[in-house]
């Protein structure tokens, strides 16, 4: 791509074209993984800074540019998750966990909230493949390239992820039905 070559020579205007082309997808993907707008803003900055500094290492014979950018995005987000883990240590959060669990019983939850809750119960591994497949609409082989995992693993993670969401939906719907019965 011409823009890549021009950026490699230090043309920041060319880099802006790359930024404009991919900023929304990077931001939205980060937002869906991190589930936080301000963290997604940080991700956007860090991912494009990484892209700029690493353009010299991008090899078009090894995969599409978009795949390379998605890989950087996903890795950044997953490392963020590992990083925030550190804030977690040493805190007694058991009370907050329990409070969170009770919310679903006390409120009339919309389908959107149920799905959001279901996605949050997934491990990062499963959640990321779900986002790459059903938001970015990547094929299984593209997902395998982004995550550097075998095709079979993509298949099994997607199947497991959807089934877990389904189980969660079933559980929440059952709770809601029970609540309705009690109130009637």
């Amino acid at each position: 791509m011409e823009w890549i070559e021009r950026t490699r020579k230090g043309d920041q205007n060319a880099f802006r074209l790359i930024f404009d082309q991919y900023k929304n997808l990077v931001f939205k993907t980060a937002y869906l993984i991190l589930d936080d707008a301000s963290e997604a803003e940080d991700a956007l900055q860090e991912v494009f800074l990484k892209v700029y500094r690493s353009l010299g290492t991008y090899d078009s014979t090894k995969g599409a540019f978009s795949t390379w950018i998605y890989r950087i995005t996903v890795n950044y987000c997953l490392n963020q998750r590992r990083k925030v883990l550190r804030f977690f240590k040493g805190r007694d959060v058991s009370g907050e966990i329990n409070q969170g669990d009770q919310v679903s019983l006390d409120e009339n939850i919309s389908n959107q909230e149920i799905i959001r809750g279901a996605l949050q119960t997934l491990s990062q591994k499963l959640r990321v493949v779900i986002i790459l497949r059903f938001f970015l609409d990547l094929s299984y082989s593209e997902i395998a390239q982004v995550l550097e995992i075998p095709l079979g693993t993509v298949k099994s993670r997607l199947n497991l992820g959807l089934n877990k969401i389904r189980a969660e939906l079933k559980h929440e719907n059952a709770q809601e039905s029970a609540l309705r019965e009690v109130s009637e």
């Binding site: 020579k9 230090g10 920041q12 880099f15 802006r16 930024f19 404009d20 900023k23 929304n24 931001f27 939205k28 869906l32 589930d35 963290e39 803003e41 940080d42 956007l44 900055q45 800074l49 990484k50 700029y52 500094r53 353009l55 010299g56 290492t57 890989r71 950087i72 490392n79 590992r82 990083k83 925030v84 883990l85 550190r86 804030f87 977690f88 240590k89 040493g90 959060v93 966990i97 969170g100 669990d101 389908n111 799905i115 996605l119 949050q120 119960t121 491990s123 990062q124 959640r127 986002i131 497949r133 938001f135 299984y140 550097e148 298949k155 099994s156 997607l158 199947n159 959807l162 939906l169």
Partner: protein, 299 residues
């Protein structure tokens, strides 16, 4: 094919990601199995609502109009060149990757990314890191198949595990600074499929004493074991000014074992049982320190 085998393939079938022969087998089974037809329909519904949810959420998420201006101010004025660190990363063909997964049989130089826990990420992480890479710590995996090094870590000589349960491999290496002045910590992650162990070593004013819990011992040092420390639904929302701490903690059945080696607080987060965590804890040894460039032989 049996129903169970068919069910494993249904998502790929819906996505048209099965081979023509698999497709024929699945279609033949579906034609004669009402249960699997229902299963397919329900899975299709879940797939649709999940996709709709993701697109709805994403539609509302728009980057700040100042994003380019902020980014441009962070870009170096000289053309982008791969730094020594990036050349290391490039050598394993995975920019930004911290994992050793898939590369077990060779000596691997993996490195270093400072996971800077920060208030904000400006100025940029790399610009902060690069001037400081003058010292390195390296270590080998217990089976001697992998080597790793971390650069720029200065607070103390970190420890690494010389014993790991079978099939465990290193999957993460990073360090944290700037959490509080003079605070620094190092993090090493190991995993084996569904099992994991994260070793966190930290020192500085942000480090507190031991929490309350079951008393244990690591060599002669008093230790605390907490089980379970967290569960998979541990979503913690705790906003502090400038620090984003919206936590999603996806590991299941996590235990914590923590103690001090001198001034260094050691914490092991793992879903292994206590006896295995203690074996790892008692195997810790100091990493090898060196000055200058990365001590590992780069491919």
């Amino acid at each position: 094919m049996k129903c169970r085998e068919i069910c494993k393939q249904l998502t790929a079938y819906l996505d048209n990601e099965v081979s023509p022969s698999e497709k024929k087998l699945i279609q033949a089974h579906l034609a004669s199995c009402q249960n699997c037809q229902v299963e397919l329909e329900r899975l299709g519904d879940v797939r649709d609502v999940t996709g709709q949810y993701l697109h709805t959420q994403a539609a509302e998420a728009v980057p700040s109009p100042q994003a380019w201006t902020v980014l441009k101010a962070s870009l170096p004025s000289s053309p982008p060149k791969p730094s020594m660190l990036q050349r290391v990363v490039q050598s394993i063909s995975f920019p930004g990757k911290l994992s050793l997964e898939g590369l077990t049989t060779q000596r691997i130089a993996i490195i270093l990314v400072f996971l800077i826990v920060l208030l904000t990420f400006t100025p940029p992480v790399w610009a902060r890191i690069e001037p400081f890479i003058t010292n390195w710590f390296s270590f080998a995996s217990p089976d001697d198949e992998n080597e790793a090094a971390i650069g720029g870590f200065t607070a103390f000589t970190p420890y690494h595990a010389t014993y790991l349960p079978e099939d465990f491999r290193q999957s993460l290496l990073g360090s944290t600074t700037s959490f509080a002045p003079e605070f620094e910590s190092i993090e090493i992650g190991y995993d084996s499929g569904d099992q994991f162990l994260i070793l966190v070593e930290s020192s500085g004013p942000g480090v507190n004493g031991l929490p309350e819990g079951q008393t244990s011992w690591v060599h002669e040092n008093p230790a605390i074991f907490i089980s379970p420390f967290a569960t998979s639904r541990a979503d913690l929302v705790d906003k502090k000014p400038g620090i984003s701490t919206v936590i999603e903690y996806s590991y299941e059945n996590t235990n914590l074992l923590t103690w001090f080696i001198g001034e260094i607080k050691i914490e092991i987060f793992s879903n292994l049982p206590l006896d295995e965590m203690l074996k790892v804890a008692e195997s810790l040894e100091p990493m090898q320190g060196s000055e200058g460039e990365n001590p590992l032989d780069l491919p």
